[in-house]
């Protein structure tokens, strides 16, 4: 029964994507629904099963590790699959308003959307290094396809830059996989973990794979493509890009450094990754302070918030792992809400230049309120999920005496407050001179409510962390001090 649920997570969206491509007109809605609706059910059952057993492994095609590919569902991938499903469904609901399945742009949007969520589930489940390469490619192609669905010139330019860098990243990653396969004779990540020696070759393979993945995760020095891509993407696409696609690459870096090379003592490497994260936080926030477009501010905020995920390395420990994973979850929800709200502003007011948005809160109170709510979680202010993550991160940083990281987390929070309130101040200001912007297009309640729903989910994450953190604790490989 476990194999059926896992298969449902991956194959059902892919089949639905094919059907969505083939079926004419209104039937496509059926295919989309059939592709997305069973996912939460399957995952709910699997989470129950995971609660009992702690780890679920299925050999695809019946062949065990070195020969075949193994699917492995543990606490960490379960949390990310849940985030993927929530984003696919809720942001999908928002997309349904702009990309009706029976119209031309919907005809192109939905197959890619289904392939993207299916591919991400496949990536989160897979334990095979080469299979991860294939799923990463599918995720990247589907994401970039979605990026150019509206054929906006800036989006096109950003897409080409993103694709070139992503392909380069994949090549580096594949080079690392080649070395690992050469050394260990197996492609299964958890099997290779035992065999791979921390010698010159082992370290180089790890570095190559990490560099490749950091390009796809847009971590600080290699983040060049993210702002233009996320800033110019269509609303729902920028949400899924920021909330999931970038996170999946960071998830892989965690898998490599904590599972594959878990017991190699590389303090220098861990601190260096931490420093990259710190630089990302500062750089992203400063850029967000000077940008003029709301979506660019939110995009640079993603660059900053990704830095927090890299702080897991210098603060290695169970609590740090729980904290950064929970930050990943709550940031995913909050950032999706922010991007959807920004997209609503853009579509209905025709612009997202800060200068022209004065007094926007009178005409679109719900979306400005969503931006504020999601901002609360991004800042890590209480009752939000971000606060729980920030609290746990500070706790473990203090416990380990990492004063630098305490400082980085706090400064990150303040800078985030700076650029968020800068946006809110303009939105709530009284329109002084600018002409009364016509509220174009029908006031689509659905898109605003979806954005609000995601923001409330990010806040609700602040109240129910216990079960999620218990689930994450089962996945921690290294044991030792919290």
């Amino acid at each position: 029964m476990v194999a059926e649920a896992l298969a449902c997570l991956v194959l059902v969206p892919v089949v639905a994507a094919c059907l969505a491509l083939v079926l004419p007109g209104r039937w496509r809605w059926l295919a989309v629904a059939a592709g997305l609706l069973p996912l939460p059910l399957a995952m709910a059952w699997l989470t129950g099963e995971l609660g009992r057993e702690g780890l679920i492994t299925v050999a695809v095609a019946g062949f065990e590790a070195p020969l075949g590919i193994v699917w492995r569902l543990d606490g960490l991938s379960a949390v990310l699959v849940w985030l993927n499903i929530i984003i696919a469904l809720l942001v999908g609901l928002h997309a349904a308003a702009h990309y009706p399945a029976d119209k031309l742009n919907g005809f192109r949007f939905w197959p890619l959307w289904l392939l993207l969520s299916g591919a991400m589930n496949a990536l989160l489940l897979s334990a095979d290094l080469f299979n991860l390469f294939v799923t990463l490619e599918l995720v990247t192609l589907a994401a970039i396809g979605l990026l150019v669905v509206d054929r906006k010139p800036q989006a096109m330019r950003a897409a080409v830059r993103y694709l070139l860098l992503a392909l380069l990243g994949s090549l580096f990653y594949l080079l690392g996989v080649a070395l690992v396969y050469g050394q260990t004779g197996t492609l299964d990540l958890y099997q290779a973990a035992g065999v791979l020696q921390p010698d010159l070759l082992g370290h180089t393979a790890l570095v190559l794979m990490t560099v490749g993945l950091l390009v796809k995760a847009a971590i600080f020095p290699l983040h060049g493509w993210l702002p233009a891509a996320h800033g110019n993407a269509p609303g729902p696409v920028s949400a899924v890009l920021s909330a999931m696609v970038v996170k999946v690459a960071v998830y892989l870096v965690w898998r490599l450094w904590l599972w594959l090379a878990g017991d190699w003592a590389i303090p220098a490497g861990l601190t260096m990754l931490g420093l990259l994260g710190a630089l990302a936080i500062v750089y992203g926030s400063l850029q967000a302070l000077v940008q003029q477009r709301v979506k660019m501010i939110v995009a640079y905020s993603t660059v900053a918030q990704l830095g927090y995920l890299m702080l897991l390395f210098p603060l290695l420990g169970l609590v740090a792992f729980q904290a950064t994973s929970y930050h990943l979850l709550s940031h995913g929800l909050a950032k999706a809400a922010m991007f959807l709200a920004a997209a609503n502003l853009l579509t209905r007011l025709g612009t997202d230049q800060l200068g022209d948005l004065r007094g926007a809160d009178r005409r679109m109170p719900l979306d400005v309120f969503t931006l504020a709510l999601a901002g609360v979680s991004i800042l890590g202010l209480p009752p939000s999920g971000g606060f729980i993550a920030k609290w746990l991160m500070l706790q473990t940083a203090l416990a380990q005496g990492g004063w630098l990281w305490v400082g980085v987390i706090l400064v990150g929070g303040l800078l985030a407050a700076a650029y968020l309130f800068r946006v809110l101040a303009v939105l709530c200001a009284r329109p002084v001179a600018c002409p009364e912007l016509p509220v174009s297009g029908k006031a689509d309640q659905l898109t605003s409510l979806v954005a609000l729903g995601l923001a409330l989910a990010a806040l609700a994450a602040g109240f129910v962390p216990a079960p999620v953190l218990k689930l994450l604790a089962t996945a921690w490989p290294l044991g030792g001090a919290p």
């Binding site: 009178r362 209480p382 606060f387 216990a466």
Partner: protein, 498 residues
């Protein structure tokens, strides 16, 4: 049945105004009747619920709501006697201020947004009052910052944004220190609840060095909102907010939250003996005294009425810190009871300032000449309030100053009386000229912006002001009465200093 009530009552009390806020947002701008009735109903309901809880607490029960966020970390609302003091104050004053605000904002825009965030602020204040441990306290403390920001920004013009930015910089900046301090404390002690007399004492911790650092971190965190000396700059600038906001928030809710935090810190976390052994009480005492004098001196030089009242608040709130820092039961009584008295008097003064500005456009002190003839009742209230602040007997202010002085003597810190005397003289120095202008000077030819407000509007404004003045005087006169704040505080203090 009662134990079910004991569990859910604290949450209900906190959530009443939150639900009202949500309702007001949904009711929106175009249904004023529904919005106002919803708001008033919620205010009444809250007062009733707080009343019930007061009775329960007096009967010795301790209503407590507990929800475990994480194994070592739980969200606890607990109504002990100290929290009741602050809860009753904010509940009653929320009702009065709502009436005042409805009348005040009759012709303003964005009222739905205003009243929505207004009730969310009161939710945060109620949450602070009834927080059972530092984590819950911090959650509502930050919520207070978030929900007051839109109110300060309400007018949407340039000055209000400058004021709001300074408010944010101060509060969010200090919350960083507060967060580190709280997490460090949780590191040392695990998730402890507030206990009368302080839980650190019993734990017998020996890391005195880190305890001192944590103490100062928390003092900075609470000091911002309590407008202690270096961190007070935001309060005068935040006076650009509309009068009801300045009245309830900057005279009662926000400022009192900081002071309440300091009281919790000294009384319920560290316990006064530990503070004394760590040698922290003297610096805190000096800081409070300096703020008192500094606030009063600056108030002298202000030409704008609300700015003068703001600096007077800066100094008055430090009385509470002073009372707690002196040590000993009597001074603690003085400090805590001043929490209520100062709230009542200061809100009256702000109400009057609001009426002067709203009806006659009088904002500067020199425009006050002869306003007594034009608005007799408001000016009377203003005078009573001002006299109370100076500390003349019948009004509440005198009681707390008396207890503070007696407490200082009892503990052997006579020099504190000098501080009290100096501040009383300064109070007189900056309030009496106003009173003289109001009653004795000839009124100018025409008021700056005379408007013919409807009878209902005037009745609402003046009625609310009269109510608060009456309570302020009543509390002073019937101080001995068992239900008065003074006797309530003496009850609190007896179980702090057995």
């Amino acid at each position: 049945m009662t134990e079910w009530l004991l569990f859910w009552l604290p949450l209900a009390v906190v959530l009443v105004s939150a639900l009202a806020g949500l309702g007001i947002f949904i009711a929106g701008e175009h249904r004023p009747i529904l919005r106002v009735s919803l708001n008033l109903a919620a205010a009444l309901a809250k007062v009733v619920l707080v009343g019930i809880m007061g009775l329960l607490v007096m009967a010795g029960q301790v209503p407590e709501f507990n929800f475990a966020l994480l194994p070592g970390l739980d969200f606890k609302l607990r109504a002990d006697s100290l929290s009741m003091l602050f809860a009753v104050l904010s509940a009653v004053l929320w009702l009065v201020t709502t009436i005042y605000a409805v009348a005040y904002l009759e012709r303003a825009r964005d009222r739905a947004r205003f009243f929505g965030f207004f009730s969310l602020c009161v939710t945060a204040t109620m949450g602070i009052a009834m927080a059972g441990n530092l984590l819950t306290f911090f959650i509502f403390y930050e919520l207070l910052t978030l929900t007051t920001w839109p109110l300060v920004v309400h007018n949407g013009n340039r000055e209000s944004f400058a004021g709001a930015r300074s408010y944010l910089v101060h509060t969010l900046g200090a919350s960083v220190f507060l967060l580190v301090g709280i997490i460090w404390l949780y590191q040392l002690t695990g998730g402890q609840d507030f206990i009368a007399g302080g839980y650190l004492g019993e734990l017998g911790l020996d890391q005195y060095h880190s305890l001192r650092i944590v103490f100062w971190l928390l003092v900075i965190g609470f000091g911002v909102k309590a407008a202690l000396f270096p961190l007070h700059a935001w309060l005068p600038r935040a006076m650009v907010a509309p009068a009801p906001v300045s009245a309830l928030l900057h005279a009662v809710a926000v400022v009192k939250a900081g002071a309440f935090g300091l009281v919790r810190l000294v009384e319920d976390i560290y316990g006064f003996e530990l503070v004394q052994t760590l040698g922290l009480d003297l610096p805190l005492l000096l800081l409070a005294s300096f703020t008192i004098v500094y606030g009063s001196v600056l108030a002298l030089f202000q030409t704008d009425i609300k700015k003068r009242l703001a600096y007077s608040t800066v100094s008055q709130v430090s009385y509470i810190t002073l009372g707690v820092a002196i040590g000993g039961p009597i001074a603690a009584i003085g400090g805590m009871v001043h929490l209520v008295h100062q709230g009542l008097m200061k809100i009256t003064l702000f109400f009057c300032a609001g009426i002067f500005a709203n009806l006659l456009g009088v904002k500067k002190i020199d425009q006050l000449d002869g306003i007594g003839r034009r608005l007799p009742w408001t000016s009377l209230c203003f005078t009573i309030g001002a006299l109370g602040m100076i500390g003349l007997p019948p009004v509440a202010g005198f009681v707390s100053k008396w207890y503070l002085g007696a407490g200082a003597v009892a503990v052997g810190r006579e020099w504190v009386i000098l501080v009290l005397l100096a501040s009383t003289l300064l109070n007189a120095a900056y309030f009496l000229p106003l009173i003289k202008r109001i009653w004795l000077n000839e009124p100018a030819r025409a008021w700056p912006a005379e408007i013919d407000a409807s009878r209902l509007e005037v009745f609402g404004l003046v009625g609310a002001t009269l109510a608060t003045t009456g309570v302020a005087v009543g509390v002073g006169l019937f101080a001995g009465h068992p239900l008065s704040p003074l006797s309530w505080v003496t009850g609190i203090v007896t179980d702090y200093f057995p």
